[in-house]
Amino acid sequence: MTPEPEAVDMLPRERPTMNAAAWIGVVVVGFWILIALVGSSLAPFEEGKLVTTFGYGPAGKITLLGSDYIGRDVFSRLLIGARLTLALALITTVFAFVVGLVLGFAAALSSGWLDTVLSRGIDALLAFPSIILALVAITALGSSIPVLVAVVGLIEATRVFRLARALAVDLSVTEFVEVARARGEGTWWIMRAEILPNTLFPLATEFGMRFTFTILLLSALSFLGLGVQPPLADWGAMVRENISGLLRGSMAPLAPAAAISSLTIGVNLIVDSFVRDYGAKADL
């Protein structure tokens, strides 16, 4: 409790990056990517096969995690569902990034009526909590895989837009962009060759964060019964199907929920070590 060290302490101290934590993240995410690729051939049972004649069979020798509400093997469905869960989230995030980046960069570089229209429009969409916006859109369009990708993708694109525009606005006044403009390069060329390479690092971080929010929003919708529809099942839908098993102590609803959590925590551990280096954390 000497004054000097304490005084230094008052100024925020940068902690070293948690490399170990980031590596845990890499292992967990890598594991699930592997399962998404080969899980269906590892699964001991087929997706729809009834392994017990009653619902919520106990975890045991034959079924590692027990059976679900109509007696299907939870472990097999978990492995098989990994592909749909990850692929859907990845496609949606990529879609969100393409839309958000193109519009965000275009808005920043044009800085005329296009910027005003896009920014105000996006601000209006940001006034909705994302799940409420998704619910409204799904009421109108019904739920199907393309609708889910489009709706969740556009919701996440509003967040990408904000970051992309902010990054590009800073770059649009730099000398090298002005030189490119003076040279007569088009907006598309400047976006691709000048802006994008200089924003890759924050965008990569944002991609990780958006990926986790996409998984969470998609599985929340599936959990509410408004996402992936039967007979298909992603992890969120598996939680929904089996939620009544909770009262019987079944692992059927907990296992897929834990799988989602491990995946998102894994991605966030990686992102976190990125962000700490970068120094700023984007908001929710």
């Binding site: 902690r15 209006a124 909705f128 959990f223 509410l224 939620i243 909770l246 929920a257």
Partner: protein, 343 residues
């Protein structure tokens, strides 16, 4: 520096600068109202204009021409969209959201319940859930945030950092399921289903609501503490704090006497933003516990495509969300000495 200016001449500065702050507040308020109006347009357009024929969606395959015509008339779908929007908005502003489509299948258009009545009882339940969560989570997270900002890199700080990472990663239905597994199934202390009725005693209501409240608290607590910490730390980085530290002020004095006053604005902002985040969390938590709140009503209405109910719920949720963001910004304006005391 700001703290010194403020304590030196608080009343005088307050008087001379009132119009400036007032104009900022009015501008922010009108922006909020415009935003809310735009969300109402989006909700209306999204649910009524996009899907083609709403009536056939509602009635499905078994629609007879008579029932379609009856519902079209009852929903005034024979009128142009802007007239319908205007009527809907005027009604909504007076608390009249039209009638639910549930029970309309026979074509007896007036059989649906008043949406306002349906929502009224549910909104109270949702507000009670969010209110109790806020009452627990806000003071607790402010305390934790404050302590972890005072001792950055300490055990508490590290723990909260990990907890916040988990809390934003883990879906609310997982936290809820784990709590049910622990407290309802294994320990048998609390009910798994949040059943509410008028005949319950206060104790029974509390028992029913405690798991949903705990779930929501877990969802926001660590994150709110983390953001509080960040707000306070950014103030602690200022040079006037360094001056205070160098002149030998104790850690507690620096934080409570010098830093906190300038962090109130950002911290109030953090609180309001996290309460707004609860709006989304409520949707999931009410479904996990079958809690009879407005979010559950909205989800059920989305499944049955009961459009008037969805519109009303979406509008109310957005109003709360926009309102909380508005409060956050207005507190920030009020708490900023630079805006209160312009040169």
């Amino acid at each position: 520096m700001h703290a010194i200016v403020e304590s030196a001449s608080p009343s005088k500065a307050g008087q001379t600068s009132l119009p400036k702050v007032a104009s900022l507040l009015i501008r922010r308020l009108s922006l909020g109202i415009v935003t809310l109006w735009i969300t109402s347009v989006l909700v209306f357009v999204g649910t009524e204009v996009l899907p083609g024929d709403v009536v056939e969606l509602v009635l499905g395959q078994g629609a007879t021409p008579e029932s379609v015509a009856a519902i079209r008339k009852s929903m005034s779908l024979d009128r142009p969209a802007h007239t319908r929007y205007f009527n809907w908005l005027v009604g909504a502003l007076q608390g009249d959201f039209g009638r639910s489509l549930a029970g309309d299948v026979a074509g007896t258009a007036e059989s649906g319940r008043e949406v306002a009545g349906l929502i009224g009882e549910r909104l109270g339940n949702s507000l009670r859930l969010a209110g109790m969560t806020a009452a627990i989570a806000v003071p607790l997270s402010l305390l934790i945030g404050l302590l972890s900002a005072m001792f950055p890199g300490g055990i508490l700080d590290r723990f909260v950092s990990i907890a916040a990472l988990c809390a934003i990663s883990v879906p609310e239905f997982f936290i809820g399921s784990l709590l049910v597994m622990l407290f309802s199934v294994m320990l048998g202390w609390l009910p798994a289903i949040a059943y509410l009725s008028d005949s319950q005693t206060l104790w029974e209501t509390l028992r029913a609501i405690i798991l949903p409240v705990l779930t929501l608290t877990f969802a926001v607590l660590a994150h709110m503490a983390r953001m509080t910490r960040a707000s306070l730390l950014s103030v602690l980085r200022s040079s006037y704090i360094e001056t205070a530290v160098l002149k030998g002020a104790t850690r507690w004095r620096v934080v409570f006497r010098h830093a906190l006053i300038n962090a109130i604005g950002p911290i109030a902002n953090v609180v309001a933003l996290n309460l707004a985040y609860l709006v989304g969390g409520v949707v999931i938590v009410e479904s996990v516990f079958a809690y009879p709140g407005m979010a559950k009503l909205m989800v059920d209405s989305v499944s049955s495509r009961d459009i008037p109910v969805v519109q009303a719920c979406a509008l109310i949720f957005c109003a709360i969300y926009v309102g909380l963001n508005l409060v956050a910004d207005m507190v920030a304006i009020l708490a900023n000495p630079r805006l209160r005391n312009p040169k």
